[in-house]
Amino acid sequence: MSFAVQNYFRHLKLANCSRNEVRIISKFFLHCSARQRQNEGGEKKPTVNFVGPPDTPKSIAKQDLISRAMLTYLERKQKVDEFKQINADEFDLGRRHLANIMGIEEDEMTSEKIREALSYLMPSSLSNRKARPLLEPPEYYFPQNVGNQFDVTGRPYHFLYYTYKANYYGLMHDLALKLETLKRLNFGLSHTNQEQGRTKVGVEWISFNKFVELFPEEKVTEHDYRRFLVLVERIDDHPLGQKYQDFLDQYRITLKPKSESFKLIQPLIDEDGREYVKNSGKRKTSEATVKLFNHGHGNININGKDITYFKDIMHRQAILAPLQLCGVVDKFDIEANVMVSAGPSADAGAIRIAVAKSLACFVPDDMKEHLRIAGYLTVDPRRRERKKAGQEGARMKFPWKKR
């Protein structure tokens, strides 16, 4: 309380007063501040009645009733609107000017055409797109205002407004309440019932980035996110946590098996009536295409040769690995064609991935997932490292000589 108000309500014993009275005081305080502002204008001198309840002001303009917070908000908003208007006008002017230059009618100058015109008039070789010339409406680069968060009396709508993270703390508040209720319900239950804990599989909490998006205009840190996770997991781990699963599901993501996203090819039929799938694979710079025949006998044909195309056993094993994982070594025929060869290891890698891809079309879904987890369906992105100047090779240095 400011000094003025203390003066104002000097006759009251604040320590002893009831809740209702405090509420009254706070109301008075707000009104009082409005009246004080009126007086500061120099029209009237305050007539302070120190005995009895204060007089209610009789003739105060509607404008005066609005709190100072509201007023500052309105002022700020007016400024922002003006600023936006100026920018919008500038944008419109620029757009029309550009239309004039390009010889297009103003109405046809859409945002796409603006981009085209700019890239034509001011071609830029900058690799970063944000650094290139731009002509967009002000909404594109100025943040949107959330709007008024006060009522007319200047009081915030949200009870946690002054924490600066009202929505975040609101959520935490809810969660904490739920945990407390669970604890209360759990009290005195036997241990046998408590075994039912977390049951959901293939589910994950939302990531930090998505969590932040739930609270616009609030600075939610990673620390906050961790606190959220702690609370949420406690509820989830709780034996009676089933009660609030629906609520928790809002903050969950169900995971899909990645192999589902893998494109499957329908097997084709050969001239001889044999089922086969054709696929290609790459590793380093070598490329290979593979025809995988179903109902085979384990025959292998690589560029017209058998498995002796690879002299090293390591490479032979690499080709057979996906088949072996599924236990079908002698049930498929491989017909591989290495178009670009970059050495035996690369060739074997290229053939292996092509074989695994084709094999995924024949085997059941579980097996497909196993193939993926084993890493046979993922492309090996490694490339040859470049030679460095002043060095023997990519990493090796020249031999050190004293002089």
Binding site: G298, T308, Q317, Q324, G327, V329, D366, M367, H370
Partner: protein, 455 residues
């Protein structure tokens, strides 16, 4: 030339028929054409291959004895059930008897034991060092009965010995068992009472030694030729080991006086063993001694006193360069080495009652050759290995392909390794593990041997 090619083709066709599993070869007769001589070989090919004989480790009732083991794979493995078959019965991969002369087509793919004396006599020298190691670790010498060897043995049994010697050449990829087949043939013929003239490893005669140049000296008998001194002596020792008993029985006498020097000479009518022992005592003359001995043996063979087997491992080496250099620092061809020349002359048509068997080895071609990094890259066809000169000289001959193991043979081989505890890992004891080894090795005997050491 043309005629020989015709015979070659028909022979290949026959082989193809044999190799196909379910084929039944009836009484088809094939002719081996030599210079104006036609040797019909119907008897040896009147063989039937049982149709579709697939491999099984047990004898008859597989289904009753088979155990089906369901692997417990909870965490890592697949969720679909994986059945693996395993037989508890002892695998059948050994022959009923160990007599090398009495094997039939039913024994193909089975191992037979070689007695220690026979092993020393016929098989040990010249084999790939890996095989010698295997014999040492397994504490027994075993050889698999294979179809190409049986083919050759059939031809040897049924050939007409009134005519000049037949030429039979094994050929095939590296490590498919050409040398093993040849040593099987030599062992067979040794037991049959034939005189064996056997070079177990031709590589040894051409290859550069790490200790220095191969010991040699200019020939005294003919100018411009070179003698191998040590090698001739070694070979005489080997020859003595194989044939001493037989020569004692035969009692061959020399028909000509051999004057070695002013002091030394072998008079007419002396025993051939004396000639042999002279060659062993005097290293200087051992190469000439070989020539003299062959001359006497050929004469004895012409008189039908003895049948002769000439077996050379790596015939294509007869025309290869050696590492020896003459006074002008030019590399000398094997044709100018008298020791090799004597063996070369055994392939001529001027004698009978003999038979010539050999192998065409890509590994011999790869020696002293900068064209190939790996001996596996060398083509294995007879025409390539013999080159024009060799092909014209050897023509006509019967080429016999030695291919990789078939499914049954590979299975038997792996079972044998398992029995000898060469293969031990539990994964490879299962049916799928065996298949894996077979696929990796491409059923190549040599590679199967090396790869199985990892399991």
């Amino acid at each position: 030339m043309k005629r020989s090619i015709i015979s070659y083709r028909s022979y290949c066709q026959l082989l193809r028929l044999w190799s196909s599993k379910s084929a039944r070869v009836g009484s088809s007769s094939v002719c081996c054409v030599k210079d104006n001589i036609v040797t019909s070989l119907p008897a040896c090919f009147q063989l039937t291959v049982p149709p579709g004989r697939s491999y099984c480790t047990s004898t008859e009732n597989v289904d009753e004895e088979e155990d089906v083991i369901e692997d417990d794979i909870d965490d890592v493995g697949p969720t679909i059930p994986v059945f693996q078959h395993r037989t508890n019965l002892p695998a059948k991969f050994r022959t009923q008897h160990d007599d090398p002369t009495k094997f039939s087509l039913e024994d193909v793919g089975l191992y037979y034991k070689v007695s220690p004396e026979d092993y020393k006599k016929y098989i040990q020298s010249g084999q790939w060092p890996g095989y010698k190691k295997q014999v040492k670790t397994f504490t027994e010498a075993t050889v698999m009965v294979r179809q190409p060897a049986l083919e050759v043995l059939d031809i040897i049994e049924n050939a007409n010995y009134d005519y000049p010697p037949l030429r039979l050449f094994f050929y095939g990829k590296v490590g498919t068992g050409k040398s093993m087949s040849l040593s099987h043939v030599v062992q067979h013929c040794g037991h049959q009472g034939m005189l064996t003239i056997h070079i177990p490893d031709f590589n040894e005669l051409i290859r550069h030694r790490t200790s220095g140049v191969r010991p040699h000296a200019p020939s005294e008998y003919t100018d411009g030729l070179i003698d191998y001194t040590d090698d001739a002596l070694n070979w005489l020792q080997y020859f003595k080991l194989q044939n001493e008993e037989l020569l004692k029985k035969l009692n061959i006498k020399t028909t000509k006086e051999y004057v070695w020097s002013a002091r030394d000479s072998t008079p007419v009518g002396s025993d051939i063993l004396d000639l042999l022992s002279f060659g062993l005592e005097r290293k200087k003359y051992s190469s000439d001694c070989i020539g003299a001995m062959f001359r006497e043996i050929k004469k004895a063979a012409n008189e039908k006193r003895v049948k002769v087997l000439v077996a050379i491992d790596g015939v294509n080496g007869l025309w290869k360069n050696t590492t020896i250099k003459d006074s002008e620092k030019k590399i000398i061809n094997a044709q100018k080495v008298s020791t090799i020349q004597h063996f070369h002359k055994l392939f001529e048509h001027n004698w009978s009652n003999g038979i010539c068997v050999g192998t065409l080895c890509p590994s011999v071609e790869a020696i002293n050759n900068t064209m190939y990094e790996n001996k596996m890259d060398v083509p294995y066809t007879p025409q390539y290995l013999l080159k024009k000169e060799g092909f014209d000289y050897m023509d006509p001959f019967v080429p016999i392909i030695v291919s990789e193991y078939n499914f049954k043979e590979a299975h038997n081989c792996i079972d044998y390794y398992i029995e000898r505890k060469w293969i031990q890992s539990p994964r490879s004891l299962t049916e799928s593990g065996k298949k894996e080894i077979m696929m990796l090795a491409n059923m190549n005997p040599l590679q199967l041997m090396t790869i199985s050491g990892r399991f």
